[in-house]
């Protein structure tokens, strides 16, 4: 069995380095392992695991949240959110850094996609911050790291994926559990900005008289009430979804469909930014983004079945508990492994493959599966911003036109704040469990 594990790890890394699509890499590694099990009809079982792995009602929420995100993001949502954030936190020193953080959090939560948040908010905020004398790499770092909070703040697709693979946790509980840790990450990022803002101003502080953010119509011409009113419908999307799920009115999947309907009405009737002829394209983009994620889900499900068949989760669990029975040490160990995995593996496959492996260990130590899920997502969010594979980092660098190496350097203090938030999330269970308990979801 050890040899099989070795084969998986080595072939995985080798194939990955060849720029083979990650889903195919996972699929081929699974195939290799399964072919080494003579009693299993490898390709048959794999195809079965792959298609059964994606035919699940809770997962249906993912395409709908993607679509709602596209519908809302299509029009001027980023512009409206930036204006709202400017009104709220833009007045402080280093205001634009806070505006950028807050907008990314809101946009990430509504669109459910960290990369979408980086590209739409970064597209406006990074040039705006440059114009106000902020260092380019600093601006990219703020935007990129803040965008990952959207994965913790509901609605969040990765939380749905976790709920499906963990089995006995509800999507509603996961959604609510992510709220406080997500806000904590955001606040720590803002705190980091506060510390760094003097060093980050290349041409001194010139923001007071510099041209404000390039928004149309200009920010000054719009009254405060208008700013709030125009951003409100976008934020209401989050509320409708959460209130619906929490009130027991709909399931997460139904709520996501309602979110699509709401986003459609908003962007089509209220804001009038989406036209009828855009709809086929929006459907198509939803389909493409969905299938990119779902191919990963399906091959990861096959791999996680193969690992379970070989008893690898149990073996790793007993190995880890042999190292130490100490809760703190084991949790630190799990986090270290996940941080390492997160640097080169995308979030979805990492959650699908490592949840069955680490969740039993965590549960044996008395950790609640909801708490574990939040910790895992908070951990893998860091991996989204690290090279060699960090989807958010890639998008941030391309939007902000900088190199991965120099942005990574500027990002170091932000990694520190994210890791602090991770440690807090890991060792303070109430951060994740308090709200779900309050709402009677556990």
């Amino acid at each position: 069995m050890e040899s099989q594990v070795l084969i998986v790890v080595v072939s995985f890394l080798a194939l990955l380095c060849l720029n083979i699509p990650v889903a195919v890499v996972i699929g081929l590694c699974t195939l290799i392992v399964m072919l080494s099990m003579p009693e299993v009809p490898a390709t048959y079982v794999m195809a079965q695991r792959m298609s059964n792995g994606i035919s699940s009602f809770p997962l249906l929420a993912i395409p709908f949240f993607i679509m709602a995100g596209i519908l809302m993001g299509e029009g001027g949502m980023s512009r409206r959110l930036i204006r709202l954030a400017t009104l709220l936190v833009g007045g402080f020193r280093g205001g634009l850094a806070y505006v950028s953080t807050l907008t990314c959090m809101l946009f990430g939560a509504i669109s459910g996609s960290a990369t979408a948040a980086v590209s739409s908010i970064g597209g406006t905020m990074i040039p705006a911050m440059r114009n106000h004398g902020y260092d380019r790499d600093f601006s990219i770092s703020v935007t990129t790291t803040a965008a990952t909070t959207g994965l913790l703040i509901p609605p969040s697709n990765i939380m749905i994926v976790y709920a499906v693979v963990a089995g006995n946790v509800s999507v509603a509980a996961m959604f609510m559990a992510g709220v406080l840790p997500g806000i904590l990450v955001g606040l720590l990022i803002m705190a980091t900005c506060w510390f760094l803002v003097d060093g980050a101003m290349v041409q001194g502080e010139q923001m007071r008289d510099a041209k404000p953010i390039d928004a149309d119509p200009p920010i000054e011409s719009v009254s405060r009430a208008q700013v709030v009113l125009s951003a409100l419908p976008s934020l209401l999307l989050i509320l409708i979804v959460l209130a619906g799920i929490l009130g027991g009115v709909f399931s997460a999947t139904e709520a996501s469909a309602i979110a699509v309907l709401y986003a459609f009405l908003m962007s089509f009737v209220f804001y009038r930014e989406v036209r009828l002829q855009d709809l086929p394209n929006i459907c198509f983009r939803t389909g493409i983004m969905t299938s990119g994620v779902f191919l990963l889900i399906s091959t990861s499900q096959a791999m996680s079945w193969a690992l379970a068949y070989l008893n690898i989760p149990q073996t790793i669990a007993s190995l880890m508990l042999e190292v130490s029975e100490n809760r703190v040490i084991v949790l630190l160990l799990i986090n270290a492994v996940l941080l390492f995995v997160g640097t080169f593996m995308d979030m979805t496959p990492a959650v699908l493959i490592f949840t069955p492996i680490f969740l039993p260990v965590a549960e044996k130590l008395g950790m609640h599966p909801v708490h574990f899920g939040v910790m895992m997502v908070a951990n893998l969010c860091i991996g989204l911003c690290t090279p060699p594979v960090g989807t958010c980092l890639f998008v941030g660098c391309s939007v902000g036109r900088s190199s991965i190496a120099s942005v990574t350097k500027a990002m170091l203090p932000f990694f520190v704040s994210m890791i602090l938030a991770l440690i807090a999330t890991t060792f303070l269970p109430f951060l994740s469990l308090w709200i779900p308990q309050l709402l009677d979801l556990l």
């Binding site: 249906l60 459907c283 995308d346 594979v389």
Partner: protein
């Protein structure tokens, strides 16, 4: 081959678009029927998951065609043109092996066996094998795309790389 791949891609794009639209209507209908008419319908849930499987599989083929599946291009970007070309061929071969071995062969066997077992889905009364058909079909498209890509790489003159 190239003509076939182009046509296939066009068809898949249209089918995926229609399926997504259908998915929205089916699930919304399910929600509305539960709240407005107060008759929870079981078939919407079943149909929706089946449509989702088709979208994911057929859409995945389109994503392969558009080279949009996530990969690690760190080393790839450092290769010289010739090595890059060989690397490209290896990528497409890996995709071809996966598509034909797992999706066409394994998925084909799966669809065939389930179809012949005569199982019927509980709410819709479809043959259970039907939904598995999306796997070999998608595999077939992915294989065609991969072969087309390999053809393109080989026939392209070296200087352009």
């Amino acid at each position: 081959m190239n003509y076939l791949a182009v046509c296939l891609n066009k068809i898949l794009e249209v089918v995926v678009t229609i399926l997504v639209a259908a998915l929205v209507f089916v699930v919304l209908w399910g929600v509305l029927s539960r709240f407005v008419i107060n008759v929870p319908s079981r078939w919407t849930e079943e149909l929706a998951t089946q449509i989702l499987a088709w979208i994911s599989m057929l859409g995945a083929a389109v994503v392969f065609r558009r080279h949009e599946h996530l990969g690690v291009d760190y080393f790839f970007n450092k290769w010289d043109p010739q090595a890059r070309r060989i690397n490209e061929i290896i990528i497409q071969l890996a995709i071809l092996v996966f598509a034909s071995g797992v999706m066409i062969w394994g998925g084909g066997c799966l669809a065939w066996a389930t179809w012949n077992s005569g199982q019927i889905t509980p709410a819709l009364g479809f043959r259970s094998g039907l939904v598995y058909l999306c796997v070999p079909l998608s595999g077939l498209c992915i294989a065609v795309f991969a072969i087309d890509e390999i053809g393109k790489i080989i026939t392209k003159p070296g200087e352009e790389w």
